[in-house]
């Protein structure tokens, strides 16, 4: 069966520090991968989307970047964190491309910027 792992589960970082969040999927090949951010009391905002290794689509211009160095690995990064980067970051995958595909989520990383 397929599983998705995100780490760390929680992270507290000072303003201006770098960031690296990792997401890996097991049990499937060539998944579509997504990074979302969820602010308190709000819905999910799609940040990045990837259909394959090295292929990243950015949805929202911001202080973050994403990379996909391996088929089932998706990394969210920042060189200098801002206070506004605080939030709950969720990684998800789907088997096929398409808005009719169920997305399967990891358990997220709670990021607090001090």
């Amino acid at each position: 069966s397929q599983t998705i792992h995100q780490w760390p589960a929680t992270l507290v970082q000072p303003v201006g520090s770098p960031l690296s969040l990792e997401c890996t999927v097991e049990g499937t090949s060539n998944p579509n991968l997504y990074w979302y951010r969820q602010a308190a009391g709000r819905g999910l905002q799609l940040l990045f989307y990837s259909v394959g290794i090295g292929q990243i689509s950015s949805e929202v211009p911001q202080n973050l970047s994403a990379s996909r160095p391996q088929d089932r690995q998706f990394i969210l990064s920042s060189k200098k964190l801002l206070l506004s980067d605080s939030g709950f970051y969720l990684c998800a995958w789907s088997v096929l491309q398409g808005s009719d595909q169920p997305q399967h989520f990891g358990d997220g990383t709670r990021l607090s910027i001090l």
């Binding site: 819905g43 999910l44 989307y49 259909v51 398409g98 808005s99 009719d100 169920p102 989520f105 997220g108």
Partner: protein
């Protein structure tokens, strides 16, 4: 931009009662999905309904879609304490082949 908007924002019921949550959206869609999120966890896909479908069932879940009113409802029958969670609708807008737009969610509390 926010596409789906759930209503109510919060709902509190007793175990055994039915829970109905609504979702309204603004632009034409290809399909609509419902997800559940337990506190501090990721989202779990519940059900998908396509724009040419009016109703769909899955266990204790019943989803309806009215494209003329641009709205959907999720009914959970015979609720249990374990159904306590936030519920989100996610729309797949026409013209987008991958993107889902999520609403802000309804927080459902089922009291034992």
């Amino acid at each position: 931009s926010q596409q789906g908007e759930e209503d109510p924002q919060a709902l509190s019921i007793q175990e055994g009662e039915n829970a109905t949550m609504n979702c309204s959206y603004k632009t034409s869609i290809n399909n609509l999905q419902w997800y559940r999120q337990n506190s501090g966890r990721g989202l779990v896909h519940l059900i998908l309904i396509r724009s040419n479908e009016r109703e769909k069932h899955s266990g204790r879940l019943r989803v309806t879609l009215d494209t003329s009113k641009k709205s959907s409802s999720l009914l959970i029958t015979a609720s249990r304490a374990a159904d306590t969670a936030s519920y989100f609708c996610a729309t797949g807008p026409e013209g987008s082949n991958y993107k889902l737009t999520f609403g802000k969610g309804t927080l459902l509390t089922v009291n034992p």
